[in-house]
C-alpha cells in the first residue's frame, strides 16, 4: 500500500504525478527532453541507460517500463536490453554506449565515482561532451525518479504484459503532459 493517499489504480510514478500535477509537469518535460529530444544518441540507447540505472536502484516499475520502451524502439528486441541489464560490457552494443553506461553506473552510486579516465574512455570511443553530459544527467534523473516511485511505495504491477503495453505507449507517445484531447502541451 502506498505511504500516502495516492489516486487509486494508477501504477508507479503516474500516481505521484496525479497527486501533485505541479511537480509532474517539469518531471515529465525533463524525461521527454532527455529520452526523446533531438540527440546524437538514439532513443533506444537513452532508454537503455535509464533501464540500467533503474535496475541498479532496484526500482521494478521504472526498470520494467523503460526496459519495454527501449525494446519497442528496437522493434521489440528485448534480448539486447536484457543483455545490457545483465552485463553491458558483453552486450551487443557499441563501445561508445558501453563507455557511457559505465559512467551512468558510477553516477548511480555517487557522482564522485566518475573519474577522468572513465570520461577519457568515452571520448576515445567517440562520445561528445553532450553525450557524456546526457549520460550523467539521465543516470542522475533516474536516481530521482526511482526514489520518488519507491519512497512513496507506489503501486507496482507485476504482469509482464502490462509493462510491454506501457513501454509501447512510452516509445510511441513519449512523456510530455497531454490535454484531454491528446494534444501535447506546448512547452
Amino acid at each position: 500500500m502506498p505511504h500516502i493517499a495516492l489516486p487509486e489504480g494508477l501504477p508507479g510514478i503516474t500516481s505521484g504525478f496525479a497527486f501533485r500535477p505541479e511537480t509532474a509537469r517539469p518531471m515529465r518535460e525533463l524525461a521527454e527532453v532527455l529520452l526523446r529530444g533531438a540527440n546524437t544518441l538514439t532513443r533506444a540507447e537513452r532508454e537503455m541507460i535509464a533501464t540500467l540505472v533503474s535496475d541498479r536502484n532496484d526500482c521494478h516499475f521504472c526498470q520494467a517500463s523503460h526496459r519495454a520502451a527501449a525494446a519497442h524502439h528496437l522493434n521489440g528486441n528485448y534480448a539486447v536490453v536484457d543483455a545490457v541489464k545483465r552485463d553491458f560490457q558483453s552486450a551487443p552494443i557499441s563501445p561508445k554506449l558501453k563507455a557511457l553506461l559505465a559512467i551512468a553506473a558510477k553516477v548511480q552510486q555517487s557522482g564522485r565515482q566518475v573519474t577522468a579516465s572513465d570520461v577519457a574512455a568515452a571520448r576515445a570511443a567517440g562520445a561528445c561532451d553532450t553525450e557524456i553530459h546526457d549520460a550523467v544527467l539521465i543516470a542522475a534523473a533516474f536516481c530521482m525518479f526511482n526514489r520518488y516511485v519507491d519512497g512513496l511505495a507506489t503501486f507496482t504491477p507485476r504482469d509482464e504484459e502490462g509493462y510491454d503495453q506501457m513501454g509501447q505507449r512510452m516509445a510511441r507517445d513519449g512523456y510530455a503532459q497531454r490535454d484531454a484531447d491528446g494534444a501535447h502541451h506546448s512547452s
Binding site: 511537480t23 518535460e29 525533463l30 546526457d134
Partner: protein, 188 residues
C-alpha cells in the same frame, strides 16, 4: 577541472545548466515549485531538507549553497544549519521536521528504505500527505542534482561569502531567474 567543457566562471550546477538550457529549464522549474512555491512547510524548512540530503550525498556545492539559502530564510542562523546537517534529531527544530528529515535521509539511501513506521511518525507529529510527498520528492530531486554536479566534476568556490551573496539573490529572485540570468554581481 570539469569532465566536459563547461562555460567559464559558473560554479556548481550553473555550469552544466548553461551548457544545456533545455534540461536546465524543467530542473529549475521543479526546484522553484518544491523549495520556493506556496507551502505549509516554510522555505527554511524545505531548504534544510535539501541541505541535509546534499550533505548525506557529500556534494559540497549543493550543501553549501542550500545551507546558505536555508540560513538566509532562518534569520541568518548558520549554526542551526550546521546542527541539522550533523545531528538533525538533536537540532532545535520541530518534531515534524525531524520526522520528515528521517524520511528524506532514507529516500537518499534508497526509496525502499522508507518504512510505514517512518511515515506514521511524521503523521503523528502533524505532517500531511503533501508534506510527506514533498519531503520524499525534495530528497529525490537532490539525489539527482548532487549526482549531476559531482558526476561532471563541476567547480565549487571556497569563499563562504560567495555562497551568502548568492543565497540572497536566489532567495529573492527564485532559482530559474537567478540561474539563467547572467547578471549576478559575484560571477567571476
Amino acid at each position: 577541472m570539469a569532465h566536459i567543457t563547461l562555460p567559464d566562471g559558473l560554479p556548481g550546477i550553473r555550469g552544466p545548466m548553461a551548457f544545456r538550457p533545455e534540461t536546465a529549464r524543467p530542473i529549475n522549474e521543479l526546484v522553484d515549485i518544491l523549495l520556493q512555491g506556496p507551502h505549509t512547510l516554510s522555505r527554511g524548512e524545505r531548504e534544510l531538507i535539501a541541505t541535509f540530503v546534499s550533505e548525506q550525498n557529500d556534494c559540497r556545492y549543493c550543501q553549501t549553497i542550500h545551507g546558505a539559502i536555508a540560513a538566509y530564510h532562518l534569520h541568518g542562523d548558520e549554526q542551526l544549519v550546521v546542527k541539522v546537517k550533523s545531528d538533525p534529531q538533536g537540532a532545535p527544530i520541530s518534531d515534524k521536521l525531524k520526522a520528515l528529515l528521517t524520511i528524506a535521509g532514507k529516500t537518499a539511501e534508497s526509496g525502499k528504505a522508507v518504512t510505514p513506521e517512518d511515515i506514521a511518525r511524521a503523521r503523528a507529529h502533524g505532517a500531511t500527505d503533501l508534506e510527506i510527498h514533498d519531503a520524499v520528492l525534495i530528497a529525490a530531486v537532490f539525489c539527482m542534482c548532487n549526482r549531476y554536479v559531482d558526476g561532471l566534476a563541476t567547480w565549487a568556490p571556497d569563499d563562504p561569502d560567495f555562497y551568502r551573496q548568492r543565497a540572497a539573490l536566489v532567495a529573492q529572485n527564485g532559482y530559474a531567474a537567478s540561474t539563467l540570468q547572467g547578471t549576478d554581481p559575484e560571477r567571476r
